[in-house]
Symmetry: C2
Subunit: 361 residues, 2 copies
C-alpha cells in the first residue's frame, strides 16, 4: 500500500497535533498495521518512532531495502537488535516521554524497553490511539471498493456450485480460490459457510456438512486489496424458502436497511446498534441477535469504531463500517445480512455490491 508522501505527512501531522494533549514528545509504534498506515512500509517486523520533527523507521537487515523503497519520507535505520536500535534512536531524538501502544505491546518487551530507555518515561496509550486509522481517504476507499468488487465476483461465480450434496468446506474453498484468482491478497478472515443448523452459530467453521434442499446458507467473506479488507455476509436459501425463513429474513433485512438509513456523520455508534436491535426485539427475536451490529474495516478487518450498545464513539464522514444484524435460532438455522458502508455527511454509501433481497438458489 504505497501512497503519496503527502498522504503520510498528513497522517503524521494529525498525530503530532495531539502530542501536547497526550503529554508526550514521541510515540513508539510496534503494530505493523499502524506502521504501514503511517509510513507505507509493508514488512512483517519493525518499529516506528514518531518524533516532533521526523518519523524514524527501524528495521532489521531483511527489510532495509524494502523500507527505503516503500517509506522514502521516513528516516530509515537498520538495527541488529531491536531494543538497542530503539534506544539509540531515542537518545538522538532526546525523547523524555514516549507514548506506546499499550493494547498490543507485551509485558516482556515493555520491561526490556523500560530498562534500556530509562530515564525516559513510557506512557501507555490505549483509547488515545484507537481510531487513528478510522477516517479513510479517497485512495483507501478505492482499495476497499476494489476488494469488495473482487469478493462480489467470486461469490457470483460460486453460486452455481451451491447444490444439495456439496460440502460447506468446498463452497468456502471455492470462494477463497476465486477471490485470490481475481487478485485478492488473501482472505479478510477465515471464510464462513454455514448451512442448516450450522447457520445458527455466528462463528461457524465450514465443515463436511452437505447442503440440503431448503437450507439457509450464511456466507461471510471478504477479499484483501492493497492491504485493505472487505467484509460482507449473504444468507441464501437452497431450493425453497418456507414461511418461517421468509419471516425471519424480512426482519433481519428490515433491521439492516433501517440501520443503514441511520448511518451518517454525527450519529452515535450505539444508536445504529439500537436501531437494528429494536427492529429485531420488537418482533420478539431480541435474545437471538447475540452480537454487535458492526465494526470499522480497513487495514484490519475489525478496527475502530464499534457499532454496539457499549460503544461511545461517534460516526464521522470517511469512516467505513459494517452493518450486520442477524437472528440465530439454535438447532434450526440463522440469518445474517451484512454490508460495508462509507459514512458521509448526510448518509452513507454501500460499498459492497451483492443484492441483499431474499435469494433462492
Amino acid at each position: 500500500m504505497a501512497g503519496e508522501a503527502a498522504v503520510y505527512r498528513r497522517r503524521l501531522a494529525r498525530l503530532l497535533e495531539r502530542f501536547p494533549h497526550l503529554g508526550v514528545d514521541a510515540i513508539l509504534f510496534f503494530e505493523m498495521k499502524n506502521i504501514c498506515y503511517l509510513t507505507g512500509f509493508t514488512g512483517s517486523d519493525g518499529v516506528f518512532l514518531l518524533l516532533p520533527d521526523k518519523g524514524v523507521l527501524l528495521v532489521d537487515g531483511r527489510y532495509i531495502t524494502q523500507a527505503r523503497e516503500e517509506a522514502p519520507q521516513s528516516y530509515t535505520i537498520q538495527y541488529r537488535d531491536k531494543i538497542g536500535g530503539v534506544a539509540s534512536a531515542f537518545g538522538e531524538g532526546g525523547v523524555k516521554r514516549a507514548g506506546f501502544e499499550a493494547a498490543s505491546l507485551s509485558v516482556e518487551l515493555h520491561e526490556k524497553l523500560r530498562g534500556k530507555l530509562a530515564p525516559c518515561m513510557l506512557i501507555p496509550l490505549t483509547e488515545e490511539l484507537t481510531g487513528i486509522r478510522s477516517l479513510k481517504d479517497s485512495q483507501e476507499v478505492l482499495l476497499m471498493r476494489k476488494a469488495a468488487d473482487i469478493a462480489t465476483e467470486a461469490l457470483l461465480q460460486v453460486i452455481e456450485l451451491m447444490r444439495p450434496g456439496v460440502e460447506e468446506r468446498t463452497i468456502a474453498l471455492e470462494i477463497d480460490y476465486r477471490m485470490r484468482a481475481l487478485g485478492s491478497e488473501g482472505t479478510s478472515f477465515p471464510t464462513i459457510v454455514a448451512s442448516g443448523p450450522n447457520a445458527a452459530l455466528p462463528h461457524a467453521r465450514p465443515g463436511s456438512r452437505k447442503l440440503e434442499d431448503g437450507d439457509p446458507v450464511v456466507m461471510d467473506f471478504g477479499a484483501v486489496h492493497g492491504g485493505y479488507h472487505s467484509d460482507e455476509t449473504c444468507t441464501f436459501v437452497l431450493g425453497r424458502a418456507d414461511a418461517k425463513f421468509r419471516e425471519v429474513y424480512a426482519i433481519v433485512k428490515d433491521a439492516h436497511d433501517r440501520a443503514i438509513d441511520a448511518v451518517r456523520a454525527g450519529a452515535a455508534c450505539r444508536e445504529i446498534d439500537r436501531v437494528a436491535r429494536q427492529v429485531i426485539e420488537k418482533k420478539g427475536y431480541g435474545p437471538h441477535f447475540s452480537h454487535g451490529t458492526g465494526h470499522g474495516v480497513g487495514l484490519d478487518v475489525h478496527e475502530a469504531p464499534r457499532l454496539s450498545a457499549l460503544s461511545d464513539q461517534t460516526l464521522e464522514a470517511g469512516m467505513v463500517v459494517t452493518v450486520e444484524p442477524g437472528i440465530y435460532l439454535p438447532g434450526q438455522w440463522g440469518v445474517r445480512i451484512e454490508d460495508m458502508v462509507l459514512v458521509r455527511e448526510d448518509g452513507c454509501e454501500v460499498l459492497t455490491k451483492i443484492s441483499k433481497e431474499l435469494k433462492i438458489i
Copy 2:
C-alpha cells in the same frame, strides 16, 4: 485437536511439577495455542487458569458449549467480562502468586488484571514457558505426518503446472488450493513461490513474475491438520540447470544432509546450525546464508526450539524441528532446502516426504 483426557492430564502434570521452582501457585494462560494444548479447546478467545488441584477454563457465551465438549476434564466457567471472570476464579482458588505469559500479555490487560487481582502477585514467565509444547507425543506426530503428506501430495499435483510463462502467484494459489482440497485446514504460513531473482529473497512474496526457462524456483509451504503444521521447502529448476546452480545446490544439499545427520537427542541446537553453516562457509558462501538453520514446529509453525548460533537449547527426543539451510545470491537467485524432522534418541526421522535431490522440471 481433541485428545484423550490422559493426554491433557499429563501435560498439566508436567507444568504443575514446576510450580515450586517457578514460585507460583497458579499460571494464567491467554495464548490460545497454549490453551488448546493444555485443554483441547479450539475456540478463538478464552482464558485458562491452572491451579494445583484443577484447570479452570473461562470462556464467553459464544464458546461455552464448545468448551464443555472439547475440554471435559477442565472446570469450565462462562464469563460476561473477562477480567471479572478471572478475578472470581482467582478468589475461589485462593491464588497468591500467579504466573503469566509475559511475552504475549499486553501491558493494558496486565494493568487491568493487576488492579483487579490485587493483592495477588502476577509473576512474569518467559523462558520458563517457552517450550512447554516442544515435546510431541505420538498423536501429535501423527497429525504432523498427515499435514506433511497433504503438502507433499499438493506439491506433486502442482509440478505439472510449472512451465515458463506461468506467474508465481498462480503456482502459490494452486498449492494452497490443493492442500485445502486434500483436507488441510489452511496454510501453515503464506506460501512462498520465488523464481529467478526473487529466489534470492528468503521471505519473497509470490507476485506476477512469470517463470522462465532456467529459473530456480524456491517453494516454501505447509499444510495444517488437526491444528498441527508442516513446513518444507523445495528448490526446483526449470528446464535446465547450469554449472553454477548445480554447485550451489550441491552445497546447500550437503549442509542440509549433514545437519540432519547431526540431529539427535542431546545435541545442542546451535551445533546443528554450526554444522550446516560450516559447510556453506567453507565453500565461501557464508555471508549468503542469512538466517538460522531451523525451528520447532507444532501448533505454531514457528515455536521452540530455535536452531541458530544464538540458541542455548538442547534437542530432546520428541521435538519436531526444521532443517533449512539456504544460499541467496542477490540479483541472481537462491536455493533453500528444508525438511521437518522428528528428533529421536539416536538420530532423527524425516517427516516431510519430497525428495531433495536436484530436480529439473
